[in-house]
Symmetry: C2
Subunit: 287 residues, 2 copies
Amino acid sequence: MLDGKWFTEIFEESGSAFSLQITDKLYEEQTPYQKIEIFDTTHFGKLMSIDGCVMLSSRDNFIYHEMMSHPALLSCATPEEVLIIGGGDCGTLKEVLKHKAVTHAVQVDIDEGVTRASENYFPELCTSNNDPRAELHFDDGIAWVKNAPAESIDVIIVDSTDPVGPAEGLFTLDFFSDCYRVLRPGGIVIQQSGSPLVCPNEIIDMHKVIRDAGFDSQQTYQFPQCVYPSGWWSATAGGKGIDLSNAVNKVPATLDFDTLFYSIAGHHGAMAIPPFLQALLEDSRKH
Amino acid sequence: MLDGKWFTEIFEESGSAFSLQITDKLYEEQTPYQKIEIFDTTHFGKLMSIDGCVMLSSRDNFIYHEMMSHPALLSCATPEEVLIIGGGDCGTLKEVLKHKAVTHAVQVDIDEGVTRASENYFPELCTSNNDPRAELHFDDGIAWVKNAPAESIDVIIVDSTDPVGPAEGLFTLDFFSDCYRVLRPGGIVIQQSGSPLVCPNEIIDMHKVIRDAGFDSQQTYQFPQCVYPSGWWSATAGGKGIDLSNAVNKVPATLDFDTLFYSIAGHHGAMAIPPFLQALLEDSRKH
């Protein structure tokens, strides 16, 4: 069936698979944490995989990076101090630094190999790495948040792999409790939360952990993401002393930077949780 | 790579492929028009393919069928007379008949085989086939519209396969000009228009053909659709004497029927065309 060269990722829990036609393997590295591979594809530009799972492609990463950044930053009244946990490809950092209000953006990815590979193969994502507001650390994000001073950060973006392997601790109550502590009032944490279609339980679990960590509001944003399971993805945010469902109404009508996917109308749209998911979320709150 | 039994559809024009794990082939029929196959899958329920292309799965067809029906019907002030071209699986018809305003819904699919297969393998989509307002014909939809009286229909839903093979004529200026003629003032035509990510030209072409056919407004609605190329799909509508960009604001705040994906907020969200696509559409209008 798949003649020729293909990269295929199988999603066991949904009995589905996604494949991209590749022309070459450009790079392979086993770091202390994971196996990074870079491929050239016929139609999606470069492809980065980690431990066999698609991380990003040149063609569609703009959607993910914009949606991990702009809804949270624009919902925060004063997004000055931003912490990115993971995000080693630097695409989220680039979007964060489009916001003039940001005075300091710290990125903490455990694996320097991801950033070095991205600099080489996704240089368009790394154009803001030398911004004087940016600070790149290669360190354990969980420990970083644990050791950060209370009420010192405005927005935490958790741009991690899925909740297995090194990223597992980024989905726990302990971690989100630490996030709550280090966020200033009006602060926001956001984390990718999987496919509404094939793993709605990840979204439900994230709402619970965010609620249990003390956050005052939870909000899921959904968006298309071709290379991730089901092509439909989500991020879920927690607000400290802020109602995220209403925060978008305070966003200015026009942006002072360019985007390819994000728009104010799309921000509202991403918050339109389908009735089937809304019912699952409401049901989970009863238990 | 894909060990065991998989159904794989390759999308040549985007160098990508989508696969579902199957347990059984349940049915196969070569009709005068196309080859219909039904499979059982491990996680997506039943799967229908036509000429090797995924048509629908039990698990995610609700999104497509709701988005092909409700935005158009709710944007129309008096959706009484509805014509469905294609739609042989009857899922769109079922959604259309949820609207109490509909007095008559005619479905014209060229291939009776699709409807018979759906009755057997997707009976949940066929529960409204005996509604007294429903009329099923197995006939050429292009000729049907050509022969229909002027200003006799409120909403035309073109629920067809992609613009190759028997459905090719459903994407032409001739066809949309006939749709314009048979629609009443305030009427709407809507047609599936492909993936915003991997085939934005289909959307651009459809805007052009709808504009050239005389329609006063064009509106694309985008939505996730796991089993179609890129997992992100769209439908594009034309309004006759009606501004579709504004019509959603006249929709009542609550629906008097149940949906799984569609909501009024989601209707607005589906209309939030990403900046990259907006730029392509605006550029195409200049030429």
